[in-house]
């Protein structure tokens, strides 16, 4: 098991290295510098600015020093938020994003699996059809349509919840954003669970379990669910990607001070170091999630551990 994990980890590190190198190079070969404004700066000031940010050094020196500071968890200074380093901005925003993201992931998995199991056990009946129709809607309707509509109904028409805004520690402000983030992965998980559970329930070992006289509940929970959850485990990394993507718009709409909003602002302001740092951060999270999925796979399906 440990060997298997180390092997996967060994595969992840070069990927991360390639991402960092590629993104770094992309930023540097981009047409136009970070200090291009509507009014062009006097050459002396530009030269001073470039020296201050180390941009006058040869490319490989810049690259080496960026890598070195990355290893210390330092993403460099932000080009637009003066007096802030990217690391500081991330430290401010990450807790909010992580909070709504984790809540959305847990809710999507919990309810998605529950709905999927119910639909599978009532295949082709009304509950199944209703659930699957809603699932298509959940997958198709984008969060940036859902969230304003939720705000319209619950915030403006019935005044139950705030439409947007954020207060430290206030759960009420997070309810609608979390719902909007949860729906797409929830719908997907429900569909995956239903499909694979239906398939697993037709396998011989399930017939054996039933013929032992076990009740349906035990068969599903003890025998069928574990193999049926394999595709769901595989979907975990895309689910996190979908939630992270969703949090970009959700944070912008709801006015939450998370890193998603910083990324969008950074992109609009062409804040190179900020966007570079965010892309690397998101990559680390996704690759880390991929490793978690590998471990889950090994746990759910022992055959994986002995492969190759």
């Amino acid at each position: 098991m440990l060997r298997y994990f180390l092997k996967r980890l060994g595969g992840a590190i070069p990927t991360l290295f390639i991402i960092v190198t590629l993104s770094f190079l992309l930023v540097r070969i981009a047409p136009g510098g970070p200090f291009d404004e509507e009014k062009s700066l006097p050459p002396e000031i530009l030269a001073n600015l470039e020296r201050a940010y180390g941009l006058d050094q040869p490319l490989w020196v810049q690259y080496a020093s960026y890598l070195r500071s990355l290893l210390h968890g330092d993403f460099g200074p932000s080009f637009r938020y003066k007096d802030f380093t990217v690391t500081e901005l991330i430290r401010q925003g990450l807790p909010v994003t992580a909070e709504i993201g984790a809540a959305a992931l847990v809710l999507a998995l919990g309810f998605g699996i529950l709905i999927g199991v119910i639909a599978a056990l009532r295949q082709h009946r009304a509950a199944d059809r209703a659930a699957m129709t809603l699932a298509v809607a959940g997958i198709a309707v984008p969060s940036f349509v859902v969230l304003p509509l939720l705000g319209l109904v619950f915030g403006i028409y019935v005044h139950w919840l705030p439409v947007a805004g954020w207060e430290p520690g206030s759960i009420r402000h997070l309810i609608l954003p979390v719902i909007a983030l949860t729906l797409p992965p929830l719908a997907y998980v429900a569909r995956l669970t239903r499909g694979s559970l239906i398939e697993v329930l037709q396998r011989p070992f399930i017939r054996t379990a039933f013929s032992k006289g076990l009740p349906l509940r035990t068969v599903v929970v003890r025998h069928a669910l574990r193999p049926a959850l394999l595709p769901v485990a595989g979907y975990l990394a895309p689910a996190v990607a979908s939630i992270m993507t969703g949090s970009l718009v959700v944070e912008s709409i709801a006015g939450l001070p998370g890193i998603g909003r910083y990324l969008v602002q950074g992109a609009l302001n062409r804040d190179y170091t900020l966007v570079l740092g965010m892309v690397i951060l998101y990559s680390v999270v996704l690759i880390g999630m991929g490793l978690v999925v590998d471990l889950l796979y090994a746990w759910l399906d022992p055959r994986v551990r002995f492969e190759r």
């Binding site: 990607a241 998101y282 990559s283």
Partner: protein, 283 residues
């Protein structure tokens, strides 16, 4: 053989009521986007100062109401839908061609080439591609052509994998041996024999790629990173509507409903298509 394969797939597709209804709605929405703007007397960028942010009504020819600048939302929604649909089609075409060629080459050539090409896919698959698209728009500015390419470049990985799998099995067929024996080159065999034989899954995938790409484009436009004013796509219209929700909810509702309906129908139709091909695809 081919006739019965396609015929059977079509029969199964048309026997699926959800897919049939979705196809009907898709056709209607496309027709509306193409001819709709001419049905209404208002222009897409005409400012009607006597009707600023008015609600929908048949009385003043603003059937979906107007926005903050008095622009007609019926015309703007349909024009925006047109832009979204074009981006969806072009970017899907980019993505499908890339995946098709890449997958066919990797699968047919095989060996070390295949290993390297699949390793690249694996690495790209581990990247947060949407963030790279955002990154590209930052680096190269907000160029609409680049938008097509970068959105298209995101979606081709899955297709390349599917096509490669198919090509691997096709490689061992006798007609390929016959083609090699008669002196055909690798490029010709891929073009003439491999590509036509993987077309079934490709059609299904392309249909399912279109809604994803439309969603992605709207997403970027919503954030202000895609299509720019005065041109509009469904994403920019929804963004404008979300800001005016309290006073004028119809500004959000018209493009929001259009986009939702389009995406849902494309997804249901794509699922139906996949089911129709799947049953016949297992030879």
């Amino acid at each position: 053989m081919t006739d019965t394969f396609w015929g059977a797939a079509r029969r199964r597709l048309l026997a699926n009521p959800g897919a049939r209804l979705s196809l009907g709605i898709i056709v209607a929405l496309v027709a509306l986007a193409v001819i709709g703007p001419w049905l209404n007397p208002n222009g897409a960028e005409t400012l009607d100062w006597s009707h600023v942010a008015t609600d929908p009504s048949m009385a003043h020819a603003h059937w979906f109401g107007t926005d903050r600048l008095g622009r007609d939302l019926f015309v703007r929604t349909l024009r925006g839908a047109r832009v979204s649909m074009i981006v969806g089609l072009v970017a899907s075409a980019v993505s499908v061609s890339l995946g098709l060629i890449y997958g066919a080459v990797a699968g047919y050539v095989g060996g070390r080439t295949d290993d390297v090409m699949m390793r690249i896919i694996e690495i790209l698959g581990g990247l947060p591609l949407i963030f790279f698209v955002i990154f590209l728009t930052v680096v190269f500015g907000r160029n609409e052509y680049l938008l097509f390419v970068s959105i298209g470049a995101v979606g081709w990985l899955t297709l390349a994998r599917i096509v490669r799998g198919q090509a691997l099995s096709i490689r061992r067929q006798e007609y390929i041996e016959a083609a090699i024996a008669s002196g055909a080159g690798t490029a010709r065999i891929i073009y003439k024999h491999v590509l036509p034989n993987v077309i079934g899954p490709v059609i299904v995938y392309a249909t399912l790629a279109v809604p994803q790409i439309i969603l992605l484009e709207s997403f970027l436009s919503f954030l202000g990173l895609g299509i720019r004013e005065p041109r509009a796509s469904l994403g920019t219209l929804i963004a404008a509507g979300a800001g005016e929700m309290e006073a004028a909810p119809w500004i959000l509702i018209a493009p929001g409903v259009f986009l939702t309906l389009l995406l849902m129908c494309l997804n249901i139709f794509g699922d139906g298509l996949r089911d129709a091909f799947d049953a016949g695809g297992r030879r």
